[in-house]
């Protein structure tokens, strides 16, 4: 491989690594030293070649210089977002609440959700910014705000309706979660049961003085619950304790979504579905990336026009 070909190849590989931050923004590898080292190693021959061409004699060398400088700008934006940008953060909040996003200069409004909304799993999030109009993000959708990629990812959720023995509805509280008055479980913890790591949450029904733990079994995990008739279904294992945390007789049992179960004097009806979480990832700074891209394209264009002009020089790239 000649020196002339090696630097553009390195530039191409580095640019591909940087653009991957847009294609797969949640990959944590962009923020480790190995990624930065790979970009730096690829940038070295590009810098060397650009240095050799610092006194361009026209035609191919000028176009090559412009394109390589553009590639270096792109590499710098990739290094910037990888080294200086924050790690990907997953923001999950209770329905009807607001999450301030200081790095984005915005606040994310998580919509209210009832049982039907959780079952459908089609709720979006609205981003209200200090500058600019509100941005709606649909499930699975992505938005670019500054150098931040926002992606809405569905997460397991369950709306729990609790009733007493007379069938009267009970207030559901979540004393250990940020949203105290929410009947929507978001399963922020994980617990190992029967060799499986399961999403877990807890809530209370103060009117009956009950504390209830909930463990989510997906369809894939349902073989553990086969003896309870739950094989092939997503279900929730409830464990009902008294207010002192002591297990109650008959207080443990499974419930499928949409099916009520009576445990420890509480009738529990879960609706299983999803509720969105917001994945916030740093990506290369778009204006600089655009300028780098323009320089690369400009360099290629210059090289192409020089070759068409028949000046006896080789195209730059």
């Amino acid at each position: 491989m000649t020196g002339l070909g090696f630097a553009p190849l390195c530039a191409l590989a580095a640019v591909a690594l940087v653009l991957a931050q847009y294609a797969f923004p949640r990959w944590p590898g962009y923020h480790v030293w190995q990624y930065a080292a790979a970009l730096a190693l690829l940038a070295a021959p590009v810098i060397g070649r650009a240095f050799d061409l610092r006194r361009p004699s026209g035609g191919a060398s000028t176009s090559m210089l412009v394109a390589l400088l553009g590639a270096l700008v792109i590499i710098a934006t990739g290094l910037g977002s990888g080294l200086l940008g924050p790690d990907t953060e997953i923001v999950q909040r209770a329905p009807g609440t607001v999450a301030p996003l200081p790095d984005v200069g915005a606040a994310a409004f998580f919509p209210n959700a009832n049982a039907q909304d959780v079952a459908r799993g089609d709720e979006g999030v609205v981003l209200r910014r200090r500058s600019g109009p509100p941005l709606a993000i649909a499930p699975g959708g992505r938005r670019l705000v500054g150098a931040t990629e926002l992606e809405l990812v569905p997460r397991i959720a369950a709306y729990v309706e609790a009733r007493d023995a007379r069938g009267e509805r009970l207030t559901v509280t979540q004393p250990t979660n940020p949203s105290f008055l929410s009947p929507v479980l978001l399963f922020p913890q994980r617990v190992d049961i029967a060799g499986k790591s399961l999403p877990a949450d807890a809530f209370a029904t103060p009117a009956l003085r009950r504390q209830i733990k909930a463990f989510y079994f997906s369809k894939a995990d349902s073989d553990v619950a086969r003896a309870h008739g739950m094989a092939g279904f997503a279900s929730i294992l409830f464990a009902v304790d008294d207010e002192g945390g002591r297990p109650l007789p008959g207080g443990i049992g499974f419930a499928r979504g949409g099916t009520a179960v009576e445990l420890g004097g509480v009738r529990l009806l879960p609706t299983i579905g999803t509720y969105p979480a917001l994945a916030i990832s740093a990506v290369p700074y778009p204006p600089a990336l655009a300028l780098g891209g323009l320089l690369v394209l400009g360099g290629i264009g210059l090289g192409f026009s020089a070759s068409l002009g028949g000046r006896g020089t080789r195209p730059g790239l």
């Binding site: 061409l53 610092r54 006194r55 361009p56 004699s57 026209g58 035609g59 000028t62 210089l65 412009v66 400088l69 553009g70 270096l72 700008v73 710098a76 934006t77 910037g80 977002s81 200086l84 940008g85 924050p86 953060e89 909040r93 209770a94 009807g96 609440t97 607001v98 999450a99 301030p100 996003l101 200081p102 790095d103 984005v104 200069g105 209210n112 150098a147 009267e168 509805r169 009970l170 207030t171 559901v172 940020p178 949203s179 105290f180 008055l181 929410s182 009947p183 103060p206 009117a207 740093a282 290369p284 700074y285 204006p287 600089a288 300028l291 780098g292 320089l295 400009g298 360099g299 210059l302």
Partner: protein, 182 residues
Amino acid sequence: MPRLVGVVAAVLAVLSIAFTLKFYLAQTGGPAGEGGGGPAMLAGAPAQSYPVKNLAGAEDGLERYRGHIVLVNLWASWCAPCRSETPALEQLYERDRGKGLVVLGIDQGESARVAAGFATEMKLRYPILVDEDQQYGRAYAAIGLPTSLIVDRNGRIVRGIDGELSLAQMNEALDPLLRAPE
């Protein structure tokens, strides 16, 4: 000319790299906030309204009381401080309803029958809404019950208060609004 092109490209490259670095170094906002902090943090925000049922079974919501000064009180029948606060709320409502004050009790998560039983037992005359899905409790960042919010005539939250209020505390919170010209 080729030299000029190279110089311009180099200047642009250096500038964009410098701006990129400046951009990332200026990002010092930190991670997303919890969004907690209780109802006090809602002062100045527009008061959200959700359609729920009142004790007569008709659709109702905070929005219907726009133009009034509203003391929104989130409560539940099992909550002892809610129960002890209620006589003061009733007294306040009876005294100041003529000045444009509405006390709006919003039951959190219980059946209409339970809420109606509580209202009858406590002889409440102020409007009661039944929020089975606990939407108001979530939106108003309740960290316990009772939770009260004072909403001005334009539908903005003036104050959010966690915990039981005495009549004197209610007076202190509402007097400036009731005295202000409409």
